[in-house]
Amino acid sequence: MAKSTTFQTKTNSKVTIGTEVTLGTATAASGGVTIEMPVTDYSFSEVAAHTLSVAPFRLNGGQAQSDDMVRAQRHDRMYEISMTFMASDKAINRICLALFGDDDGTNSLIGSMPAATTYADSVASIVPVTIHFEDSDPDSTAASGVDTEFKGCMCTSFNLAGDIGSDGGMVMGSATFVTGYAPVLAAKSYAGGTHTTVAQHVNFFNVHDFTKTEINSGSAEDLVLYSFELNIERSVNRVGFDTASNGFKPLGYSVGGYEVTGSLTVKRDVESKGAITFADTAEPVCAIDLDTGVFQITAPKAIIDTASINFDDDGWKTVIPFRCTYDGASTGNTIVSINTAA
């Protein structure tokens, strides 16, 4: 067989997230709700994502491995998909919807979340998504695009970060998804329904535009912010497997709790000192508020973790790590809110 002349490149591939109607049924090519993400980078697992399971050696002769003793394990495989993207309002909203069910522009993660702790195959839910990579199949050619589609994807983490000294100050997002369903390699084009193209992402956010960068632990400390990072993570485990059809598809997922952490890197001054200084008898609890007037991250009950100093040539900086919690007075209270609309 002659060497193939086909190849794939990142620049040739749109990345689309589609809302599923039922877990494990890919978003329809026509009439679904889909959004092309403004990605700058991405990756996904190769089709053969199994692991090998190996039996122990027999003792006393025949200490080798036969093909009976090594098996491909597919019943527990999880494909991983990750993407880095420019944080537009639409992109942030879409990831928040996948991670904690909010895309209303306030994107509030509250104490009583998640709304569901299990998801079952073929049962209606708008939380799982289909992720589609255009022209990414090894058979794909310039003349005939063949795509890779991951269905039944669950979001496990969302990172938002911005640095005034890099990426033009753009706030960047990165999200990780997992799925227990084998990818489908086939050509697909989205038509009809609600389809958001990359060109329709027009509201991007930038660290240069913050008008408020504040920690309030009794008094408002006005910080000179160099960079920030916010991470929301949860675990997703596959449950069961079906050998009868569709290549060891899972019977469902169970999801774990949310961990919300982050950090601010700020000029080391009297304000940053105030932000991290607490009496030994007090918990280091504060409210964090980063606001451009449109894009706003608020964490009403953040708890300051171990702070450190960056001894940089352009001035010392304080790194303030934090963990976001909700006010225990009510599970309806907000852990973190990522506003994307004024």
Binding site: N93, L97, F100, G101, D102, D103, D104, G105, T106, S108, L109, I110, S112, M113, P114, A115, A124, S125, I126, S330, T331, G332, T334, A341
Partner: protein, 61 residues
């Protein structure tokens, strides 16, 4: 304007309640009997949902 859920809200399926509208936080607060303020992105509400909400009147001065 603030709203609370009438008891009928609990009977709405997940395809009709605030989960389907992309606001799990609103859904969970209503289920817990809390007041919610609706973001403009959620408006206008589908009739099915609107009928299950009760406006919280401001106390008279």
């Amino acid at each position: 304007m603030k709203y609370v859920a009438k008891k009928e809200y609990a009977a709405l399926s997940d395809q009709d309640n605030f989960l389907a509208l992309g606001s799990a936080s609103t859904h969970l607060k209503l289920k817990d009997g809390l007041e919610v303020e609706l973001h403009k992105a959620l408006l206008p509400l589908p009739k099915k949902v609107k009928d299950c909400l009760k406006e919280v009147k401001k106390e008279g001065k």
